[in-house]
């Protein structure tokens, strides 16, 4: 049975060794939603991602993926549900762009025979959709960090999982590619109905493009709602420790209007 909830955190605490990083987090991400996770460094954003992708087990509480406890799923089952776009890592060997994108088909490929025709189609389509056609044949290790980030995005598109989780997908990109990636995510969300979870640092980009914002601070979720509800001036000042007046235009500027907007 498919559930209408893609990911659910139920009073989750987690940490590394003796250090607790997240406390009592409740979070529900509906199938087909697009959420942005914001928060200062050390707020626990990466830990949230590691929990929802099963790399880290909670010390208390439970994480559910499509209605099933994550702890009971194999890596293969998780890979059919969630594709992850990590930060670019170095590769030990040279590898052409298309053979890296092909890794997105790992959960689907035949164990003995490898890639089949439909896998090759999906790889080609992913390369096309992310706009990497001009990079086919190039060694990934020769590419810029931004281009490598796009290659990893294409891996996730080729993986064809209903949920895509992205860790700072725009951090190495120039402004045009930032917009293009946000357009692509919007398209994957609306047209393909994929659930998208994005960790971002750029408040402005998040407020402009992502319908729902989860704000993390100090190991807790402190606000959850539309950008206008979550990113008001007082909260931005309190959580990020900056004067919102210094930021480009965003919900934090609309001082008196934000309360009305949030309830209207």
């Amino acid at each position: 049975m498919t559930s209408h909830v893609a990911i659910r955190f139920d009073r989750v605490s987690a940490g590394y060794g003796d250090r607790t990083v997240l406390r009592d987090v409740d979070l529900t991400i509906e199938a087909g939603a697009w959420i942005g996770i914001l928060g200062p460094n050390g707020a626990g954003k990466s830990t949230l991602l590691r929990l929802m992708t099963g790399l880290l087990a909670p010390t208390a509480g439970a994480v559910e993926l499509a209605g099933r406890p994550l702890a009971a799923l194999s890596r293969d089952e998780i890979a059919h549900q969630i594709a992850v776009v990590p930060q670019p890592a170095s590769l030990p060997f040279s590898a052409p762009v298309e053979s890296v994108v092909a890794l997105g088909r790992l959960p689907h490929e035949d164990r003995l025979r490898g890639l089949r025709a439909e896998d090759r189609m999906a790889i080609g389509a992913a390369i096309e959709r992310v706009g990497l056609g001009r990079l086919v044949g190039r060694d990934v290790r020769e590419l810029s960090m931004g281009e490598r980030q796009l290659v990893l995005l294409a891996v996730a598109v080729a993986q064809a999982a209903p949920i895509i989780v992205l860790d700072e997908p725009t951090i190495h990109l120039d402004i045009r590619h930032q917009f293009e990636v946000m357009d692509l995510l919007a398209d994957l969300n609306r047209r393909d109905g994929r659930t998208i979870v994005t960790v971002l640092h750029d408040l402005h980009l998040a407020a402009q493009r992502i319908p729902r914002i989860v704000l993390a601070a100090d190991g807790r979720v402190v606000a959850d709602g539309s950008p206008a509800e979550v990113l008001d001036a007082d909260r931005v000042r309190a959580v990020f420790g900056v004067d919102p007046e210094l930021l480009p235009d965003g919900p934090w500027r609309a001082r008196s209007g934000s309360a009305v907007g949030a309830h209207g």
Binding site: S94, L106, G124, D139, L152, Q159
Partner: protein, 360 residues
């Protein structure tokens, strides 16, 4: 009519240009197998007593297939070919195959282009085992494996097991921890080896020739011990090519792509170590084959382990048979010297050719 649908099909295929079934791996495999066959025939026919190529083939066909071939050769030639050279050539092929597969596996698993089959302590463990065996004045045989082969095999496996267990206690990231533990334990065992050599007196030469590697003692019995281990373990590694591909992007990415990293790492490590131990037991320490061959193959066909593993196996076998033949023709030089002399300049040339060089 069909022209229209063909045009549509052609258009959908456009983005996959360069992604279709590449014929290059098949060509490389064909050329490699042909070269290997030539090397095996040359290895069996050439030597201090040359056997004509026709006679060599005749003996092989006669003994292998039991066909009634007109016997144009002397019984001595048959003994040389069948009892001395063929087991030696096949042992060289098996060891070359094994070291290349193990090298590919260790490089992929440790995500380190400098890794070779000996990187996690197998070499120093085997060497110490061999040295101790030389110092023990008892001669026994277990399934055609002498004391030296048995101790080398156990030393290699013991060392890599210790490295794996010790690395899991460390706080560092598992891969770094494995490499550093391998280095540390390797140094310790090397000290033990140095001590054993110091104490060995007249047996020093025997230890030394083990360290340089050779196929002088090859026999059907030894081959029968090593070959099944190498072939079965290599086949099992090939079945896990998918996991090795996932590791290209790192351990976390591999997990996201559905690879059970902890289990796969343990299994691949065990299989590659078993292959290495079987190889070093029968041949001693032969360098460069396990390091260089996988890199050459990757430069030709890319990083896909599904192709790199079988092609490295063919290349490793061919290179080792050739190196052993050269070593024999030059008057029984240690084969490890030949692989180093061939391998090192080749590797340097590759490094220069790779456009940006290897990021280490």
């Amino acid at each position: 009519m069909t022209g229209g649908s063909d045009a549509v099909a052609a258009r959908t295929v456009v983005p996959t240009v360069g992604l279709g079934r590449d014929r290059r791996p098949l060509v490389v495999a064909g050329v490699g197998l042909a070269a290997l066959a030539v090397a095996v025939l040359a290895g069996v026919g050439l030597g201090s007593v040359a056997v004509a190529p026709g006679d060599t083939l005749g003996i092989l066909v006669h003994r292998l297939l039991g066909l009634d071939v007109a016997q144009t050769w002397t019984p001595t030639a048959e003994t040389i070919v069948w009892e001395l050279r063929l087991p030696r050539v096949l042992e060289a092929a098996i060891v070359g195959l094994g070291l290349a597969v193990a090298g590919t596996t260790f490089q992929g698993l440790l995500r380190n282009p400098l890794a070779d089959p000996y990187v996690l302590g197998t070499a120093s463990g085997a060497a110490l085992g061999a040295a101790i065996a030389v110092l023990i004045p008892v001669r026994i045989e277990i399934l055609a494996f002498g004391l030296l082969q048995t101790f080398a095999f156990l030393g290699a496996l013991g060392a890599v097991t210790a490295v794996y267990q010790l690395s899991r206690m460390g706080g560092a990231a598992p891969l770094t921890s494995l490499l550093l533990t391998g280095y540390a334990l390797g140094s310790l065992l090397a000290a033990g080896l140095a001590m054993a050599m110091y104490l060995s007196g007249a047996a020093l030469r025997q230890i030394f020739s083990y360290l340089l590697g050779s196929f002088d003692n090859a026999s059907w019995g030894q081959l029968g011990g090593a070959a099944p281990i190498v072939i079965v373990a290599s086949g099992l590694i090939l079945l896990r090519a998918r996991s090795m591909n996932g590791l290209l992007l790192g351990e976390e990415s591999a997990a996201h792509l559905g690879v059970d990293v902890r289990r796969e790492r343990a299994v691949l490590l065990a299989l590659a170590s078993l292959i290495t131990a079987a190889c070093v037991a029968v041949s001693g320490l032969i360098g460069f084959v396990g390091l260089v061959v996988p890199h050459v193959v990757r430069l030709v066909v890319g990083p896909n382990a599904r192709l790199v593993l079988p092609l490295s196996a063919i290349g490793g076998a061919g290179l080792m048979v050739t190196a052993d033949l050269i070593a024999r023709l030059l008057g029984e030089l240690p084969v490890g010297v030949i692989t180093a002399v061939i391998g090192a300049p080749f590797f340097l040339a590759l490094l220069r050719r790779a456009q940006r060089g290897y990021e280490l």
